[in-house]
Subunit: 343 residues, 2 copies
């Protein structure tokens, strides 16, 4: 699996990354919100032991105990989509196990005891699922998971019952956003048991025109069905997005190019840059790259900027505390330096 | 006298150009609005004869008869500030005599029979006045001007009575515009008998933060007093503008640089550019050049763009008729090409 942030091999495409998340709980043990701090820490040890015993990639992984890290570092993991906002709510009880490539992240004591995530660059749900399934099977050799013959795997929230599998993609839909068709897309997805959310999950805005599409229903469906359904829906949305892009290009070629080239020029020249504006400009440049209107910025650069310009990650890379204005100045500097001498 | 549009010698400065305008009328002849087309054309011939007989620079000048030209070409002269909107109202009765450098323009049958203008680059009112005075004296050798011992030179509008001289400067005041002090400047100028107007004269907006400051009163004052008063007022305004700039720089250095560099980048990359936006961006880049925040764009380029991106001049240089959208596309192309490979 390739990390979507560093994938420099192929063309910039609207489908940024694919993710499989598996929820599991230990048999006969209350869900995390009913466990004490001590019980949670013991559980982390138990799960760690199971993980590092069974995995063949022992040296590749490390455990990050939330109570040992400062909040900015943790927010940076959030910005990289490696952990959820929920996990950060109980830093004294939670941990996650992460591989070096940052493609596998296993949260411990989020809503469920285990939330294993495998994230792959591009449209690769199957690859991500195979990895998740492999780790899940290895864990099951040691751990006894809560399972009901009728309901399947038991989870804290009933929407995750069954396979406990949620599949999602991160997708760039600027044309459908521009022409407001995104509202209809959301409606259609809801009707087939899927959901569309902004870049940073539930309730977040679609900054940078990047959305997450995922299945809402896990009960009564096999993992293969979940993935196949999502792939089909995403395929349709991609077609719709591409048709909208062609329409815009045929009607407003100059205006579209204007947007793309101005955005690139602003990223290359701004001295003060907010996070939201940065995401918007990156979206426009990304659109230009995806449509081959502009060249010379590769996938790793454009994807890397998406995360490295986020407040906490930016601050993390600079290694000092910044106020908002200083951050906007440092962001502009970082983006300018990253994009200088490129074109 | 140097033409402000092509003056590439010195630093970009807030004071763009200085102009002297002299109004004269032929004795015992009604003002132009009371003359028939035939009378006007005869008068043009009379004045032309006087001009080309007395001037020693005969080969340098040409007469442009408005009825022989298409309206776009005439508008382009307006955009270069060589003629007034008033002159264009009676194209069948009017003409102007222009030198090759486009620093001297003598309108015939505007509000007065003769409106002689001398325009010099930078803060050079005296130089412009000397040239205007020289031509005026030469004309007076042949022509008999309407003159009253008490009132001085007689003019169609009483505000021009006396010397018939109006002095004005074209000045870039972005800082006073930004901090809204420009309203107080206007009040103060009005109290001392001067006026402040936008780039294209009465009633026009100050697009590009460029203003015209001129004396309103000509009666009871010598030419020297008019010029000295204007010079003093303009000097004060320049000081005020510079203080405002320093204040902005000390408080908002990054924001100011952000504005300047983004504007330059947009001019270098836009694919669609309206005239108004273009003037705004040019004003920001000009401010950066004047404050030495940015380098590499010389005076002739920045001044040239100010005029060459105006609708009629742009169309004139492209030599074909364009609709508004096509003009915005061609303007972006022209600006991009002018500013490419500069920095």
């Amino acid at each position: 699996m390739k990390n979507w942030m560093y994938d420099g091999d192929s063309k910039v495409e609207p489908l940024i990354s694919s993710r499989i998340r598996i929820a599991r709980n230990i048999k006969n043990m209350p869900f995390p919100h009913n466990l004490s701090e001590e019980q949670c820490k013991n559980l982390i040890e138990t799960i760690e032991r199971a993980f590092y015993t069974s995995t063949h990639m022992k040296n590749d992984f490390k455990t990050i105990r939330l109570w040992e890290k400062d909040s900015n570092e943790l927010k940076s993991y959030l910005e990289k989509h490696l952990i959820s906002p929920n996990l950060l709510k109980t830093p004294n009880k939670s941990a996650f196990i992460l591989n070096r490539e940052e493609t596998v992240s296993m949260m411990i004591n989020e809503e469920d005891h285990i939330r294993l995530q495998c994230i792959s660059s591009g449209f690769n749900l199957k690859e991500a699922y195979e990895m998740a399934d492999k780790i899940d099977s290895m864990l099951e050799e040691t751990l006894d998971f809560a399972f009901d013959e009728n309901l399947g795997y038991l989870t804290a929230c009933p929407t995750n019952l069954g396979t406990g599998v949620r599949a999602s993609v991160m997708i760039h839909l600027p044309a459908l956003t521009m022409n407001k068709e995104i509202t209809q897309v959301l409606k259609a997805l809801t009707q087939v048991g899927m959901t569309l959310r902004g870049l940073y999950g539930e309730g977040s805005n679609a900054d940078g025109n990047i959305y997450q599409i995922s299945n809402q229903i896990t009960l009564g469906m096999s993992e293969e069905e979940i993935i196949a359904n999502l792939e089909a829906a995403v395929g349709q949305i991609l077609d719709q997005e591409n048709r909208s892009r062609e329409l815009i290009l045929s009607k407003y070629k100059y205006e579209l190019e204007d947007k793309v080239f101005r955005s690139l020029a602003m990223l290359q020249s701004a001295r003060v840059l907010t996070s939201t504006e940065c995401l918007d400009l990156l979206s426009n440049v990304r659109l230009g790259l995806e449509m081959s209107l502009v060249e010379g910025v590769d996938k790793a650069i454009i994807n890397g900027l998406l995360v490295n310009t986020q407040p906490a990650t930016l601050q993390q890379n600079i290694s000092r505390s910044l106020n908002e204005r200083e951050r906007d100045i440092e962001r502009a500097k970082f983006v300018r330096e990253t994009l200088s001498n490129l074109m």
